[in-house]
């Protein structure tokens, strides 16, 4: 709203009359017929916060304003209708709320002071381009880092940022490991990034076991499918705390925190000892019959043996495979890693093998090795480690084996620990032993974050000549690592996230911003988040009711559109436009990838069409026109296009793993060189760590206790976070309706004894602290909270915590095993939020 010189052309001083002043805002040409009518329309879009629920919503728009949001309820399967929670309905509070970003902003005060001036788009973009060019010239383009967050909720707009980063050769952090949502057991055991059943498949499980996931609260639109699963079968919740999902379970096992691997190994032993496993499944689809050398601990290769060396030489296999050996029909047999036809191999046994140099060694099958490991996990010891009842453990294990398919929901609060990978590997034994993989209602699923990209998006994300320098976020924080740029990270370009609050050790970012080590920070968002406050330039983007995009996430495998119900508010512009404008300024040759001949809406639509056309078999036959009529299921090999992990591998006997987009198969298949589900890992570090097979390891030994032995006494509470019922995930914690429902108070949940010991009463303001940082919250004495735990409801921005961000408490641990390969967001060091000790003290009554 600028003063227009023309407005005043005829205003004369002293005339006492400004009669000839022009109109600045109104169009005198009058109204068209359409404008004169009261316009009401319904526009279908997709609710797309980082919760990844991707619920279809209709926006009722009256005269250009969204007046109501309504669940679209247009999924072909009635049991998905209606889909969308009350939190999504409250989005209008953010769209039209007080933190809505209106104009491009350029910082005028100190970093973090919140002092900005309004800038025009050209000025802001020119300024960004100049800074980014200067930094790239001085330190190399890899000194500019960006993050891709939750691709599934916006393949087009987020893809524009990735494409620019690739063209400009910037560094990229993968959000999945940055968020700690990457469950490392997946690549280790199944060779994939992650997999999951759609929630419509939940009721097809006869046994559902839930570890560290509170789906009743965090997956509201899908929760009824869990209730149906309980009606048809049995639901067992294993959780230290009496969470809302535990309250719905047939059985709640109040396990000691972080001892799930011991429980899983104990149950695996029960299943094996009682002969309740699926022998054929284990022979054909797993590494259980593979032979392992006793002398080296390595899996026996066919090429090493006197009898199979020649056959191994003749065998043509891809580089990422190896020919291992099984014992079948009384002799050694080469195991074809590309062929999963039945082998009838011996699952157990110890054998003598002659090597090509004539030496004789002893080998045993993986299952034999596992059974030896399991001798440490008799029920009495497992009961002692886990704090559970031995009989109950045995009964649950036998029931699960008798009532398949078994489905395990494996939640982030369980795996976001230093040894979370071991827990996932141990828990995977249960569905594998019972043959519950690749079948309707069976398997193991992770839903937190969930980065699995659902189709091939290379054409839009990775243009010709694109090259990204992937650096895990933990390496960025520690300022070191294989891909870490020589001169460090000097600029951050961000969007769809809030790392200055919501990521671990957010204080490191603030320190680097304050010291000037970070020379430039650019953020796009539609809310004034903490990360915007700390930025040098803030660019206003539209919400998902103001632009075009394509979504496909977890829980319901639908391709859906985001469609603009209203024009972008104030001066916001779509990210595609923003990154196209930046691209043009950085290098005119970059611009052509972003359809410069089209306006931003047309360009986004074009990108959707290209993605659908080049997405591979998953999007084959699906067109924009179909999506405009409603959500369309992605193609899958399972009947009715159901989302059933490993269906093709098991039912059609295809070698593991399936591809994890966007990585090429060659990158991930190396994790499963046998072409089968692998529990035995023989890379040197697995052997030296004693983790060639899943085992239980005690919490904090390699982390907190190692760094500070005193923490055993000075910090006696486990700091874990949970999602509030009244928050749409974590990114935007400023929704005033949801804040009101939370009484506007951050909360920490404590066991009664822990609270009383510290003279803390319900409602007291307490400080949560450790050597790394501190935050504050109101105490809630919760009978459902286990002893020794401080549960903080995550997501609160610093502004609600007296500027003491809760992620100052979190930790830098990197498990070395997570660095032996590097495939971005798939095998990568991942944040282990829960491996964090604190204590709590009262600030005031």
């Amino acid at each position: 709203m600028k003063l227009d010189r023309r407005t005043f052309l005829q205003a004369a001083i002293g005339s006492g009359c400004a009669y000839a002043l022009g109109l600045q805002f109104f169009d005198l040409a009058g109204l068209s017929e359409a404008q004169a009518a009261e316009l009401t329309e319904l526009v279908r879009s997709t609710c797309s916060p980082n919760c990844t629920g991707a619920c279809g919503f209709k926006a009722q728009v009256v005269n250009g304003r969204i007046s109501t949001l309504i669940q679209a309820a247009d999924y072909p399967e009635q049991s998905y209708n209606p889909r969308g929670c009350l939190r999504g309905l409250s989005m209008m509070d953010l769209i039209y709320g007080k933190d809505r970003l209106k104009y491009p902003l350029i910082r005028t005060g100190a970093r973090g002071s919140g002092e900005f001036r309004r800038a025009g788009w050209d000025e802001a973009l020119d300024y960004c381009a100049a800074k980014l060019t200067e930094i790239a010239e001085k330190y190399g383009p890899e000194a500019i880092a960006t993050t891709v967050q939750v691709p599934g909720t916006g393949y087009v707009q987020k893809g524009a940022m990735v494409a620019l980063a690739g063209l400009a050769n910037w560094t990229m952090h993968h959000g999945y490991d940055q968020n700690g949502d990457l469950p490392m057991f997946w690549p280790m055991t199944f060779g994939v990034q992650s997999e999951e059943l759609e929630s419509l498949e939940w009721p097809n499980a006869r046994t559902t076991m839930i570890f560290g996931s509170n789906v009743i609260q965090t997956r509201l639109p899908d929760a009824h499918h869990l209730i149906e699963a309980k009606r048809r079968g049995r639901v067992i919740v294993v959780d230290p705390d009496f969470c809302s999902t535990a309250a719905k379970a047939d059985h709640w096992l109040p396990i000691k925190a972080d001892t799930d691997a011991a429980l899983a190994l104990g149950m695996a032993r029960v299943i094996i000892d009682n002969g309740r496993y699926n022998r054929a499944f284990m022979q054909d689809f797993t590494d259980f019959p593979l032979l392992v050398r006793r002398d080296t601990g390595k899996r026996l290769l066919a090429e090493e043996t006197a009898v199979l060396a020649e056959a191994a030489r003749q065998k043509e296999i891809p580089d990422y495979r190896r020919c291992f050996v099984v014992h079948a029909g009384g002799s050694l047999q080469l195991l074809d890693p590309e062929d999963l036809r039945p082998t009838d191999a011996d699952l157990e046994g110890e054998f003598q093998v002659e090597l090509i140099d004539g030496r004789r060694i002893v080998v045993e099958t993986v299952l034999t090795a596992l059974r030896r490991t399991l001798t440490d996990y008799d029920l009495d010891r497992v009961a002692e480690i886990t704090g559970l009842d031995a009989d109950q453990i045995e009964q649950v294990a036998l029931d699960a084996a008798a009532n398949t398919p078994l489905h395990i929901i494996y939640g982030a609060s369980n795996y976001q620990w230093y040894n979370g990978d071991l827990k996932g590997r141990a828990l995977s034994l249960l569905p594998v032993l019972t043959g519950s993989i690749g079948v309707s209602g069976g398997g193991i699923s992770t839903y937190a974050g969930q980065y699995r990209i659902r189709f091939n998006l290379k054409s839009w994300w990775f243009p010709e000549g694109s090259k990204l320098n992937w650096v895990p976020y933990l390496h960025f924080l520690q300022g070191d690592g294989p891909g870490y740029p020589k001169h460090g990270i000097k600029a951050m370009v961000g969007g769809w996230g809030n790392p200055f609050d919501q990521h671990n050790m957010s204080n490191i970012l603030k320190d680097r911003a304050t010291s000037g080590e970070l020379e430039f920070i650019l953020t796009t968002d539609f809310q004034m988040s903490t990360s915007c406050v700390w930025s040098d330039v803030v660019l206003p983007a539209p919400s998902w009711y103001e632009k075009h995009d394509l979504t496909a996430t977890i829980l319901h495998p639908y391709l859906q559109l985001q469609q603009p119900a209203i024009k972008p508010l104030f001066e916001s512009r779509s990210e595609l436009w923003i990154f196209r404008e930046l691209a043009k300024r950085l290098n005119p040759a970059f611009e052509k990838h972003f359809y410069p001949e089209l306006d931003e809406n047309e360009a986004a639509i074009k990108a959707i069409e290209v993605l659908l056309a080049t997405g591979g078999r998953e999007t084959e036959g699906i067109t924009l026109e179909m999506l405009r009529r409603g959500p369309i299921r992605l193609n899958s090999p399972a009947p009715d296009n159901r989302q059933i992990p490993f269906y093709e591998e098991v039912q059609h006997r295809r070698p593991f793993p399936p591809r994890s987009y966007p990585a090429p198969l060659t990158a991930t298949a190396q994790f499963l060189r046998s072409g089968r589900i692998e529990f035995y890992k023989d890379e040197d570090l697995f052997l030296s760590e004693g983790e060639q097979l899943p085992v239980h390891k005690e919490t904090y030994l390699e982390t907190e206790y190692k760094v500070n032995p005193d923490s055993r006494v000075s910090y006696r509470l486990r700091f874990v976070t949970k999602n509030s019922l009244y928050r749409v995930h974590s990114t935007h914690s400023n929704n005033s309706i949801l804040l009101e429902l939370q009484d506007n108070k951050p909360k920490v949940f404590l066991h009664e004894a822990d609270a009383h010991e510290r003279h803390i009463d319900n409602g007291d303001l307490v400080q949560i602290y450790n050597d790394r940082g501190q935050t504050r919250a109101n105490a809630v004495i919760d009978p459902g909270c286990s002893r020794g735990t401080a549960i903080f409801e995550e997501g609160w921005w610093s502004r609600y915590l007296a500027e003491e961000g809760y992620n100052t408490l979190t930790c830098p641990w990197i498990k070395p095993l997570h660095e032996i390969y590097f495939v971005p967001g798939i095998w990568s060091p991942t944040t282990v939020w829960n491996e964090c000790l604190v204590d709590v003290r009262r600030i005031s009554a």
């Binding site: 709203m1 600028k2 003063l3 010189r5 407005t7 005043f8 205003a11 001083i13 002293g14 005339s15 006492g16 009359c17 400004a18 009669y19 002043l21 109109l23 600045q24 805002f25 109104f26 169009d27 005198l28 040409a29 009058g30 109204l31 068209s32 404008q35 004169a36 009261e38 009256v62 005269n63 250009g64 304003r65 969204i66 007046s67 209008m92 509070d93 039209y96 709320g97 007080k98 933190d99 809505r100 970003l101 209106k102 104009y103 902003l105 005028t108 919140g114 900005f116 001036r117 309004r118 004034m528 915007c532 406050v533 803030v538 508010l569 104030f570 001066e571 005033s736 309706i737």
Partner: protein
């Protein structure tokens, strides 16, 4: 229309317009070059002496304030980022949750449509400057009208808009400016606006009967 009434109408309308201009992004050179505040004072002398005095104070304050300071204080009050201490949008004062684009915003938009005007700006239509400009337009149309039914139509619209859309948030808005800034220009502007609106109340109150339902209040 006799010329005295017409003069009064034009003065009032132009006052609305010049006040609107004072809420734009400030351009000191232009404000001074075009004597916006001096003109405002000149107009107000005939309308309300204390509003005129506030406009005189604006002239002085403008001269004494650097462009940069004006821009910073204007942004802090009306532009953001963050929650605006004196949001320039009617709905923020008239509705729960301090939201923009509320039902009252829709009502304002219906007034514009009723007057045959379309609007295309990147701001909610209940921005103070837009509402003030709308009243300027209605005053001018009333003054220009030949037929008495036209005169009556613009008069009625003016009164309804003034009473339903603008007046209800003027006091909280001006008081928000006063508590959020020390900038003498904007303090004087708040005083001037509040006083001028006060002086308009009797004029529009007389016309109130029968005008309330020009535009329905709710969606």
């Amino acid at each position: 229309m006799n010329s005295a009434t017409e003069q009064e109408l034009i003065r009032r309308g132009d006052t609305f317009k010049l006040l609107a201009a004072c809420f734009y992004e400030p351009d000191k050179e232009l404000l001074q070059g075009k004597h916006v505040c001096a003109n405002l004072a000149g107009l107000l002398r005939e309308i309300d002496p204390s509003a005129a005095a506030a406009a005189e104070a604006m002239v002085t304050a403008l001269a004494a304030t650097e462009q940069q300071q004006l821009s910073i204080d204007h942004a802090a009050l009306f532009v953001g980022p963050f929650e605006l201490p004196a949001a320039p949008y009617g709905s923020v004062y008239l509705e729960r949750q301090r939201r923009t684009m509320g039902d009252s915003t829709m009502m304002v938009q219906r007034f514009y449509r009723e007057a045959g005007l379309s609007i295309d700006v990147a701001e909610p239509p209940d921005h103070i400057a837009i509402e003030l400009e709308f009243l300027f337009y209605l005053c001018r149309k009333e003054a220009e009208a030949d037929a008495s039914e036209q005169t009556q139509r613009y008069r009625t619209l003016q009164a309804a808009f003034f009473n339903q859309a603008l007046l209800p948030w003027m006091k909280p808005f001006c008081s928000a400016i006063r508590s959020a800034t020390g900038n003498p220009f904007y303090l004087a502007l708040a005083a001037c606006l509040e006083q001028f609106i006060e002086s308009c109340r009797p004029i529009y109150r007389q016309r109130r009967e029968g005008t309330d339902r020009v535009v329905p209040q709710t969606v």
